[in-house]
């Protein structure tokens, strides 16, 4: 019975994993420290929000992420705390420049097969073709410019720096896609602990009650 349950549970978890087998994505470990999130936010607001919006992130959410009130005030200027991180580029300007509106980044972390690994690999997969034009290994025919400048990197040190930046970006986007994740994981640990205790006691009680039958 245990074996059968395990097989079923396994098939439940394993099926979605097949999905990411298409592209060879580099694995990235999301950094949940406030410092990494803030670094990632800085990179995103200076390199990405020129064209991309994060329409589900309000300035007040950044306070919750751990950014200081002073910095958020500087970022938002005369905008309301409840304003969202819109892109600097109007939609019609984007349409004429790229032929499409760049996708919103709030949910980008979860919105691609391979999740964060996709975004990480994508950001560091830009390269120059022999004719000097730009392309991307993960997304051939890409229209987005090489925002972090990976294709321009001169040496390995610079490339490592850019990879670290990409990791911070992904960490920030992970937070943006699911701001309550840390709270959820904490809840999960407490609930699991409680269930282990409760189920253990129920087992003992079950044994005791069934012993009456012997």
């Amino acid at each position: 019975m245990k074996k059968f349950l395990m097989t079923l549970a396994f098939s439940l978890t394993a099926l979605p994993a097949f999905a990411s087998s298409e592209a060879h994505l580099e694995k990235v470990q999301v950094d949940t420290s406030p410092a990494a999130l803030e670094r990632g936010m800085d990179i995103v607001t200076s390199n990405c929000t020129g064209c991309h919006a994060l329409k589900y992130i309000h300035y007040r959410d950044l306070l919750g992420m751990g950014v200081s009130k002073k910095k958020v005030d500087e970022m938002r200027g005369d905008k309301n705390m409840d304003a969202t991180l819109v892109s600097a580029m109007p939609d019609d300007a984007a349409m004429s420049a790229f032929g499409k509106v760049p996708p919103d980044l709030s949910l980008m972390f979860n919105a691609r097969e391979g999740r964060g690994n996709y975004t990480y690999t994508y950001l560091t997969a830009f390269y120059k073709k022999p004719d000097g034009s730009l392309d991307n290994h993960v997304f051939p025919g890409v229209k987005m410019p090489d925002a972090l400048g990976y294709s321009e990197a001169a040496d390995d040190k610079q490339r490592a720096d850019i990879k670290a930046q990409a990791k911070d970006v992904v960490s920030f986007l992970a937070w943006a896609a699911d701001p309550h994740e840390q709270e959820r994981l904490l809840f999960g640990k407490y609930i699991m602990g409680y269930l282990v205790l409760l189920t253990g006691m129920l087992y003992v009680l079950k044994k005791k009650i069934w012993a009456r039958l012997d």
Partner: protein, 407 residues
């Protein structure tokens, strides 16, 4: 004071008698294994889904312009909205998980056999209602997979002869899946669970008429039946604890693995995802649909693959009790079927290639062949077993239980 109130009620409503007959004193075979826990678990998940669903509905907007945003509003701004939503989304998978095991137990032990045919058929009806509810609920987040999944499935009805096109429009309320479809699916997604509750009551009335089956497949003598409470209330609660751990694991630690990546992109009628997959619980049936080259044939095969379970009481002609427990050939068939349906699930998941289409066809033929060969197969097995003599354990069980009944 309390007794007076109960007396007052009892003179007007059979409260005490009901609790005594159907719960505290309800005779239950003492040899039930943990495989008999899953009906209770299904009932628990149903209550859980209704409870979380009602609170989600308070914050959700069934409007194609607002639906996707309202889910994000729930996930980000509503107090513990993320908790409600992840419990509900994971709950759908949990529901099918326990129902599939509940069905597998019935098939393994032959619990569908006389006199439990109606019990099995009400269960079959519940499965269809559950599938309908889950399918309509999946449209509500209004993501890419929601939209295109609903488009593909409603399109299937276009294969119906003559009226196909009209049926598709009637279901969608429009020429394509759109705002009309979303609002009607939401209304029905809210209604269906209450029909399910009604059907569960019928299922339980049937159960309490014929009583629980048990691993031996023989109706046990009175001495081997024990009151439901406290023996099975505590056993069900312990099982619930184990189940809740698995559920908690998915809902709190990996809830997003059960949500398709593409469903984090708002529905876009102008852009079809490269690969449309249904939720895991529909995959085997989806694979059967895709394995039949003809559109109408595929739809019929898919419908039949779900409905064929209802014929089990007549397909299985063996009179040997205990299902796969005492029947060696049927046991092989059961495990073969389990492997086949899991394999079909995998076929339904991967993007179709020449080889997976071929494997899918073979697995589909095997799927139906296992059901259709059962009348001959079970008869031959019965003859073989009678000729060789019943397993000693089974023979001893039959003797002791029939003795007990005589008294």
């Amino acid at each position: 004071m309390f007794n007076q109130i109960i007396d007052w009620v009892d003179q007007r409503f059979p409260l005490t008698a009901f609790v005594k007959h159907e719960l505290t004193g309800y005779p239950t075979p003492r040899n039930l294994s943990y495989w008999w826990n899953f009906g209770f678990l299904a009932g628990f998940v149903l209550v859980m889904q209704v409870a979380t669903g009602i609170f989600l509905a308070m914050h959700y907007k069934a409007d194609s312009a607002l639906a996707f945003d309202s889910i994000q509003h729930i996930m980000r701004d509503v107090n513990y909205g993320w908790l409600l939503r992840y419990l509900h989304a994971t709950g759908a998978s949990a529901f099918f998980f326990v129902i599939f095991i509940h069905m597998a137990r019935t098939l393994y032990y032959g619990s569908y056999r006389k006199p439990r045919e109606l019990l099995w058929w009400t269960g079959q009806g519940l499965l269809l209602l559950l599938m309908g509810t889950a399918f309509m609920g999946y449209l509500l987040p209004w993501g890419q997979m929601s939209y295109w999944g609903a488009t593909v499935i409603t399109n299937l009805f276009g294969a119906s002869p003559i009226l196909g096109h009209e049926i598709v429009i009637w279901l969608r309320g429009d020429f394509t899946v759109g705002d009309e479809t979303l609002s009607r699916f939401f209304a029905l997604h809210y209604l269906f669970p209450f029909i399910i509750v009604g059907a569960v009551i019928i299922h339980l009335v049937a159960l309490h008429t014929v009583k629980s089956s048990n691993p031996s497949g023989i109706d046990l003598a009175a001495k081997d039946n024990i009151p439901f409470h406290p023996y099975f209330t505590i056993k069900d609660l312990f099982g619930l604890g184990l189940f809740m751990m698995l559920y908690t694991w998915f809902a709190f630690f990996t809830p997003n693995t059960l949500i398709e990546a593409a469903n984090n992109i708002p529905a876009n009628p102008m852009s079809t995802p490269s690969h449309i997959v249904p939720e895991w619980y529909f995959l085997p049936f989806y694979a059967i649909l895709r394995s039949v080259p003809n559109a109408l044939g595929g739809v019929v095969a898919m419908g039949l693959s779900v409905l064929i379970f209802a014929f089990m009481p007549y397909l299985d002609r063996s009179r040997i009790p205990g299902g796969a427990r005492y029947r060696p050939w049927y046991r092989i068939l059961f495990y073969g079927f389990t492997v086949d349906i899991l394999f079909l699930g995998w076929i339904g998941f991967v993007p179709p290639t020449d080889s997976t289409i071929l494997y899918g066809k073979i697995a589909t033929i095997l799927y139906f062949l296992m059901f259709l060969s059962l009348p001959l197969f079970s008869r031959a097995e019965e003859r073989m077993m009678i000729k060789r003599g019943l397993p000693p354990a089974l023979q001893a069980m039959i003797d002791s239980e029939s003795k007990g009944k005589g008294k």
